[in-house]
């Protein structure tokens, strides 16, 4: 019974992801093929003037650009199914390899921001919720509202100006010091370049989780079971620990997993401001530079990334919440 349910769950989730990927791939393929991007210009770059019309026609023929759009899509989808995402026009290397390299850099950034914003957001939310209506609550709430309304790139610029330009504590941008060979870059260098982008992304991420935790805690503290726990003589931090945290941590963790989409979106902007060589920067370059294979590859990859986050949120509920867990056994 249990194995059957679990296999059914896995199957249905896989089917959902597959449908999603097909839908996204069709949509983005269409958008790209109707956009004014000229892949040949993107490929050839500055030498465009030296390409004769015949040569151009040959390339179009070779790439299959003259075929109807549907068969272009099917060709592309077919090679993806065979594990070939194509070759990046800008980087002149396989798309899969570019994504892998860039993702590692982004992952460091996103993981740090995810953890820090999660922890600090949760703590701030608890403080605000416990001190509801006091100045400290208003301060935290105000901070969160201001943050939610702050564009990421603007905050990034402020951080650069303060910490790099004025204080000079951190490098202005890039993933590694300029003019140094990759094998000579030390861990400290990596961390120093990672710090400001991660800080920016964390600051942005705090607002959502803090406000959510605050609301959830206030709601929990007003519940009848907290009232009864007080009637039983429980109070203070012990009360919060026994009955409060239990009831607010699960939704908070779930929310954090379900926010992979915003996290990725934030990373795109942050990496742009800091010229940080991650996936987010690559997607912007691919878009501006007409690198269609890379663009589509990253779109599909980020779809999977966000989907996995939501899936984890869902699974967490099923594993941890006894009310749902019982249904499964």
């Amino acid at each position: 019974m249990r194995t059957k349910r679990i296999s059914l769950y896995i199957l249905s989730q896989a089917a959902k992801l597959l449908t999603l990927l097909i839908a996204i791939s069709i949509l983005s393929f269409m958008l790209v093929s109707y956009s004014p991007i000229d892949p040949i210009r993107a490929y050839i770059g500055g030498d465009m003037l030296r390409v004769s019309p015949e040569q151009r026609a040959n390339i179009e023929e070779y790439w299959g650009l003259n075929e109807p759009r549907v068969s272009q899509y099917l060709n592309w989808a077919n090679s993806i199914l065979h594990g070939d995402l194509g070759t990046s026009l800008l980087y002149r290397s396989p798309v899969a390899q570019v994504i892998a390299e860039r993702f590692v850099a982004s992952l460091a950034l996103m993981a740090i921001a995810w953890l820090l914003s999660g922890i600090f957001g949760f703590i701030l939310g608890i403080i605000a919720g416990m001190k509801k209506g006091t100045w400290i609550d208003r301060l935290i709430k105000g901070y969160c509202y201001v943050l939610s309304a702050t564009p990421t790139f603007w905050l990034g610029l402020v951080v650069v100006i303060v910490f790099s330009v004025w204080l000079g504590w951190f490098p202005i941008g890039l993933g590694t010091p300029a003019g140094i060979l990759e094998q000579d870059v030390s861990l400290t260098d990596y961390l120093r370049h990672l710090f400001l982008p991660a800080l920016t992304l964390s600051i942005i991420g705090v607002a959502n989780i803090a406000l959510h935790t605050r609301t959830k805690l206030v709601e929990t503290l007003n519940s009848e079971f907290i009232w009864f726990a007080k009637a039983k003589g429980e109070k203070g931090l012990k009360l919060l620990w026994r009955h409060g945290l239990r009831n607010i941590s699960l939704p908070a963790i779930s929310l954090q997993f379900a926010s992979f989409g915003e996290l990725f979106g934030g990373a795109v902007l942050t990496e742009q401001v800091f010229s940080y060589p991650g996936l987010g920067q690559a997607i912007v370059e691919a878009g501006l530079g007409g690198d269609v294979p890379l663009l589509l590859g990253i779109v599909l990859f980020s779809t999977i990334f966000v989907y996995v986050g939501n899936l984890m949120a869902d699974i967490l509920y099923k594993v941890i919440d006894p009310r749902i867990r019982k249904e499964w056994n």
Binding site: F225, F228, A231, G233, R246, N247, D321, R323, K326
Partner: protein
């Protein structure tokens, strides 16, 4: 000199005659913001009295909304933030200050709550009951009490959502049985129980009183109240209208003194099923006179103008000009 002697009773009298709980002239209102920012006070309890001795069970009877649960919250010091309380509440002869209430909750005063959602949905029921047990072997003590109230032993590992309403009621009652409190406030602990479980619960509560505790038994069911209590306090629209000994509920109610109590008694199926027309007003709706006058069958002009004071005698009380 004489007066002072009166105020200091002999030591052996002190123990026996001192009420466990004494509520005098309690009134309660809620501060509300209506129509924008205008602040109004909504009075929901006034002139509420109740006295409870050790080994005694006082039933509090009254229609829905008469202020029974609020009395429980007031004694525990767990009223909503916008509540404003006046009057006296003495516990063991000393006034209940907020600090004292916080200290006594769960220790000397225990509550069986009215709501079945009073248990933490994410904590096993056994653990929730163990929270009130002192000393070692919490688990064993809790298991023993679950046995006693007829809960299967696996219940302690169950989450509240796995239990029926009646089982939750028994867990809530078990919480009070497990505590070492001297005062137990049971707020409608019996709905949803089958006749057998009802009888059991009533017996445990009686046993608690025999063991020297005082019990306030809140209910809107006068029959259950008469089965269990020594005295019945009748609430109407936030006032105590009568406190009567159980023996006086007999015949056609000729020993009962307040018209509302008589009406309640005569509305019972076995006593003729005579309904009382009208419905309980909000306290704030009756501007002057006796709170019961809009429905009173024996009212006079005086009743419409003046509020009757309470008259007490031998632990009984009534609030009516003509009782």
């Amino acid at each position: 000199m004489k007066l002072q002697q009166k105020e200091e009773p002999l030591p052996d009298l002190l123990e026996k005659d001192q009420p466990l709980l004494e509520v005098k002239d309690l009134s309660l209102s809620f501060r509300q913001y209506r129509e924008g920012l205008r602040e109004t006070d909504l009075q929901v309890i006034s002139k509420l009295d109740i006295t409870l001795y050790k080994k005694e069970i006082v039933a509090v009877v009254g229609a829905s909304g008469s202020g029974k649960s609020l009395l429980a919250s007031a004694i525990l010091g767990l009223l909503p933030e916008n509540a404003f309380l006046r009057g006296t509440i003495n516990f063991k002869g000393k006034p209940l200050s907020p600090e004292r209430q916080e200290h006594l909750r769960g220790e000397e005063i225990s509550l069986i709550p009215q709501s079945v959602s009073a248990l933490d949905p994410l904590m096993k029921t056994g653990k929730q009951v163990q929270a009130v047990i002192k000393g070692k072997n919490k688990k064993a003590v809790q298991q023993e009490i679950f046995d006693k109230v007829g809960l299967p032993s696996k219940t302690s590992n169950s989450y509240p959502f796995e239990l029926s309403g009646g089982m939750v009621r028994r867990v809530l009652a078990a919480t009070s049985l497990a505590s070492s409190a001297d005062l137990i406030i049971a707020d409608e602990p019996t709905p949803g129980l089958d006749p057998f479980a009802l009888k059991e619960t009533v017996n445990y509560i009686k046993q608690l009183a025999e063991n020297g505790k005082g019990v306030i038994f809140i209910t809107h069911d006068i029959e259950t109240a008469l089965k269990i209590a020594d005295k019945v306090a009748v609430f109407y629209a936030g006032q105590t209208v009568e406190i009567a000994k159980v023996e006086n509920f007999c015949g056609s109610g000729e020993n009962l003194r307040h018209p509302y109590t008589k009406a309640l008694w005569n509305a019972l199926p076995q006593n003729g099923f005579v309904p009382l027309p009208g419905s309980q007003p909000l306290l704030s709706e009756v501007a002057e006179g006796c709170i019961f006058h809009p429905r009173c069958p024996v009212k006079t002009d005086l009743c419409k103008k003046k509020q009757p004071e309470s008259k007490s005698k031998n632990g009984e009380m009534v609030r009516c000009f003509y009782a």
